[in-house]
């Protein structure tokens, strides 16, 4: 991107002090450039006034209310279904079963293996068996009770290892192994023979709920011209459109998917809008009326995707000085009832393959072997959740690194310093990291801000009663930018108008992460206008170019580049015209802050809008289109060798905890997290991602678990499914480092998911450091911590 700095690695620590209020408001006017400024979000004003419209805030007049009849069984055949009584209920407009789906009766982000309406069998508690539309919500609810379904329960599977057994019931008619992937590097026998120490551990993580605060909603509106509009919160409008077209049996260009701003997504609203959208659209198509489906919180938990649970077996070998020599891992990755975003089917790279690639951690290890099994079960299904398969495996590699360090009596920070990726390192897939590798910088910045060296030695009891022990923990991580492995790309359009105002068209959605602020910043920077001159158009598949889904920490980097390319097409017209108007050669001109000026004689200048008006008058092009795809990726199916992702974000976290050895209660008392983000386009937004991601990782460590018993979720609402409150989360200190990514807009890499990932193991390592007890099956709730301390020999003496 920037030739001058391409081979020069630039490290800059941004100040953690905030700008004062005056500066923040003035920033767009005073700043030397727009990209890199902590600008206030474009949607903040509407949000603080409560006037931003979420899906549920739209008027309900004219809509029928859709409801889903759900399976009460984890695995059963549908023998018969009687809808006659339900159809007779006054106010009911439609009761639909599988035969009423006009096109393909299946949807899915990668494989369409989930029925819109189940016909012959159900595969999890919550599967959709019939759909109802009525003129009010209550009637629709009543109608569900009148549908009679005769089920024949089948034996069900709730453990991925059971799913692989030969006599296991076949959930989808074929084998339950949805995907088997392997990674092979070096020679395992040689590797482990060179090791002075070998340790083996098993770690286990449960299903996790996204717990975005806004429950799902979808509105489908059939139009007289035969097109179908579907509106709602959605992270992936193009995936919704593709699925809807197939389900309705119409060409893709007859479906329009429009994103309404989301009250949180975290990967969950990649899947669920496909599900709800298809069901609402089938009802709308059948009745000819607009249909709205809203989910209650319990339905969200019951129906939608979760973070994959995993059982991870790890064997790690090292030399006495801590040098890693061999890593062997096995992942039993539970997919649940449907494929969702689990498997790898080009052009989509599933979470499973990502887990495999990430599993050995951000360390140089010469000999690596990973076997990863993705299995169907009769549980709810795993989808995308902030980290896409990476948080789970980080819990394994970061804990085993600490267990190894303990075995070797090495400071956990030193064993990481010794093995961490640096410029030129080779990953387990054989990828040479030839640019933007700031991992070691994050270790040092984090250690300095946290004061690791001193605090690591000061663990122990902190109270006279000798019940509370303090400890510190470290977690390191890496995460891709982009979907990778196969196809990925983003398109953007930039329109400049005769008054100098700008419209920006992008299909990247806003779920809270701040893309609707960061993307216009990049556009304004490249055009040389002010931030407030750019208006971003709400993503709508009829209006914006194909952009792929808003996932994979890809938005700023991929869409940012597409916007720059689009803006440059317009800028060419602007600069050519300005050159004619000023009689100054084009290469001497610069566009900045609404002015086009001669760099030799800056007094010779024009206003951006004057030039735009002249372009318009002369019939010159003011429309720009950009498309950016990352460098090609690769991964050999037999060896798992290749370059799966084009760039990685790196991070180090340090946590301090206080553990009550009598109750097992854990309090996280301090936290520092350092990141190499390439370039922070909006540092305040980056901090927001860091602080929120760490809080989510804390929940994973200490309290979150979708509790399942025989396939039934026990904690459907937020009263029972606990997420961190303001009392659980410490004052997280973010540290932002910038090691330029030569493929990024102004050097940027992704940041959305990374903060969530090392947080969980950092806290688990701190607990072990504090009290000697290590929890290897999450979450580390008081009971598990209590027993872990006893298993380790009871509360320490000193």
């Amino acid at each position: 991107m920037n030739k001058k700095t391409e081979d020069k690695r630039k490290v800059k620590v941004l100040t953690k002090e905030k700008l004062d209020l005056e500066q923040l408001i003035q920033a767009p006017k005073l700043a030397p450039s727009v990209a890199g400024q902590s600008l206030v979000r474009t949607d903040a004003l509407l949000k603080v006034k409560g006037s931003l419209m979420y899906g549920a805030d739209y008027p309900q007049e004219g809509f029928l209310h859709g409801k889903i009849l759900r399976s009460p069984h984890p695995h059963a055949l549908i023998k018969s279904i009687n809808i006659e009584k339900a159809k007779m209920l006054p106010g009911v407009m439609a009761v639909l079963t599988a035969k009423d789906v006009p096109g393909r009766n299946g949807f899915g982000a990668i494989i369409p293996d989930q029925p819109v309406i189940c016909g012959d069998k159900v595969r999890y508690v919550g599967d959709g068996v019939a759909l109802v539309a009525a003129d009010n919500e209550k009637t629709a609810q009543e109608a569900l009770k009148l549908i009679e379904v005769d089920y024949e329960p089948l034996p069900a599977i709730f453990d991925p290892r059971d799913a692989l057994k030969e006599d296991a019931p076949k959930i989808h008619g074929k084998g339950n192994l949805l995907s088997y992937n392997k990674l092979r590097k070096g020679d395992m026998e040689k590797g482990f023979s060179e090791a002075d120490v070998i340790i083996e551990r098993t770690y286990q993580v449960p299903f996790l709920e996204h717990a975005y605060l806004e429950p799902d909603i979808s509105m489908a509106i059939p139009r007289p011209d035969g097109t179908m509009l579907v509106e709602g919160p959605m992270q992936a409008p193009f995936t919704v459109r593709r699925n809807l077209a197939a389900v309705l049996g119409v060409p893709v260009n007859k479906v329009e998917a429009r994103q309404i701003q989301m009250g949180g997504g975290f990967g969950g609203k990649e899947d669920s809008p496909i599900d709800l959208g298809c069901r609402a659209a089938v009802l709308a198509n059948h009745t000819g009326c607009p249909v709205r489906i809203t989910l209650e919180r319990e339905e969200v938990t019951l129906q939608t995707a979760k973070r994959h649970p995993m059982i991870m077996e790890v064997k790690l070998g090292a030399k006495r000085d801590g040098t890693l020599v061999a890593f062997e891992g096995v992942i039993y990755d539970e997919q649940g009832a449907y494929a969702s975003l689990g498997p790898l089917i080009p052009p989509a790279g599933g979470s499973h393959i990502h887990s495999m690639v990430m599993m050995p951690g951000p360390y140089e290890i010469p000999h690596v072997k990973v076997d990863a099994y993705l299995c169907y079960t009769n549980h709810p299904f795993g989808g995308a959740m902030r980290g896409f398969g990476a948080p789970q495996v980080h819990i394994a590699h970061e804990q085993i690194m600490d267990e190894l360090a303990e075995e070797l009596d090495i400071n956990p920070i030193d064993i990481r310093r010794k093995n961490a990726f640096k410029l030129g390192s080779m990953t387990a897939t054989g990828q040479v990291l030839d640019q933007s590798v700031g991992l070691l910088e994050t270790v040092e910045a984090c250690a300095e801000n946290f004061n690791w060296d001193q605090r690591y030695r000061q663990t122990g009891y902190i109270d006279r009663q000798r019940t509370k022990r303090k400890g510190v923990g470290i977690g390191m991580g890496w995460y891709r930018t982009s979907i990778g492995i196969s196809a990925d790309g983003c398109g953007a359009n930039v329109y400049v108008h005769e008054d100098g105002s700008v419209l920006l068209f992008s299909g990247i959605t806003e779920m809270g992460q701040g893309s609707f602020t960061v993307l216009p910043q990049i556009c304004a920077e490249e055009l040389g206008v002010l931030f407030e001159d750019v208006r971003l158009v709400q993503p709508d598949t009829d209006i914006v170019p194909e952009s792929g889904p808003t996932v994979g920490s890809r938005s700023t980097t991929l869409m940012g580049n597409a916007i720059i390319l689009a803006a440059r097409e317009v800028k060419r017209s602007i600069l050519e015209t300005a050159s004619e108007m000023l009689l100054v050669p084009i290469e001497r001109l610069r566009a900045r802050k609404r002015r086009i000026y001669d760099t030799i004689n800056p007094t010779r200048s024009l206003e951006f809008r004057e030039v735009a008006a002249r372009c318009m008058a002369q019939g010159k092009r003011l429309i720009g289109q950009g498309w950016w795809a990352p460098p090609p990726s690769s991964l050999d199916p037999e060896t798992g060798q290749g370059n799966p992702y084009f760039v990685y974000t790196y991070s180090t976290h340090m946590a301090e905890v206080v553990v009550d050895v009598e109750t097992g209660q854990v309090e996280v008392t301090d936290y520092v997290a350092a990141f190499d983000v390439g370039k922070a386009i909006n540092p305040m937004a980056v901090e927001g991602q860091i602080e929120g991601g760490v809080a989510m990782g804390l929940g994973y460590a200490l309290m979150e678990e979708v509790a399942l018993e025989d396939g039934y979720i026990q904690n459907l609402n937020l009263q029972d499914y606990l997420i961190p409150t303001s009392l659980d989360v410490p004052d997280i200190k973010p540290v932002i480092l910038e090691v330029e990514n030569k493929f990024g807009p102004y050097g940027a890499k992704g940041i959305g998911e990374m903060p969530n990932i090392p947080a969980t193991p950092a806290i688990l390592n701190a607990i072990a450091n504090a009290c000697g007890g290590r929890v290897r099956t999450l979450p580390a709730d008081p009971e598990k911590v209590f027993w872990a301390i006893r298993e380790a020999g009871g509360p320490p003496d000193n």
């Binding site: 905030k18 209020l21 923040l24 408001i25 902590s38 206030v40 979000r41 949607d43 903040a44 004003l45 509407l46 949000k47 603080v48 006034k49 409560g50 006037s51 931003l52 419209m53 549920a56 805030d57 008027p59 309900q60 996204h210 717990a211 975005y212 605060l213 806004e214 429950p215 701003q261 989301m262 009250g263 949180g264 997504g265 975290f266 209650e296 919180r297 779920m511 809270g512 992460q513 701040g514 305040m684 937004a685 901090e687 927001g688 602080e691 929120g692 991601g693 760490v694 809080a695 989510m696 609402n717 937020l718 009263q719 997420i723 409150t725 303001s726 009392l727 989360v729 004052d731 997280i732």
Partner: protein, 160 residues
């Protein structure tokens, strides 16, 4: 259930509506009165997105039977900024401190912060964290929300 007449003060204005006694306050606000700034996240008083003020105290409007507000004063997020659009200090601080991400908890969070600052104009950090613990936020990690409440407190003080 048969509708009955309900009178109360809403954002400073007297209102009188016919409403079924089994209605919950949040549904009256959102569906009956079209004040959709108050959000629904769980319908069991857990997430706090539906927080409004009842005579200055924060309440979960999703579990509050509507006749509990008879003759009393209800303040929602819509009642915080002036008709001319001037923001409350808390709203302003939430914007500038980056305390807003997805925004779904924001109205409830701002209301609970207002209840705190009206009673305790200069709260300590622990008091802020205690007060806002009734509203869940999945996006921010709370740090910038706590900071925004501190900033609003300072601004209120310097405006006096």
């Amino acid at each position: 259930m048969k509708s009955k007449k309900l009178s109360f003060k809403l954002n400073g204005q007297k209102v009188s509506v016919d409403v079924s006694p089994d209605t919950l306050l949040v549904d009256l606000l959102r569906d009956g009165l079209r004040l959709t700034g108050t959000k629904v996240g769980c319908r069991e008083g857990e997430c706090g997105a539906c927080t409004v003020l009842l005579d200055g105290d924060p309440v979960n409007s999703c579990i509050l039977p509507v006749f509990k507000v008879a003759g009393r004063s209800v303040t929602t997020i819509e009642g915080l900024s002036t008709e001319e659009g001037e923001l409350d200090e808390i709203q302003y601080a939430f914007m500038t401190e980056g305390a807003v991400q997805c925004g779904f908890c924001t109205p409830g969070m701002i209301m609970i912060a207002k209840a705190l600052l009206d009673k305790n104009p200069e709260p300590q950090e622990t008091e802020i964290r205690q007060a806002i613990s009734g509203v869940l936020c999945r996006c921010t990690g709370y740090r910038k929300i706590v900071q925004a409440v501190k900033t609003a407190s300072q601004h209120r003080k310097s405006a006096q």
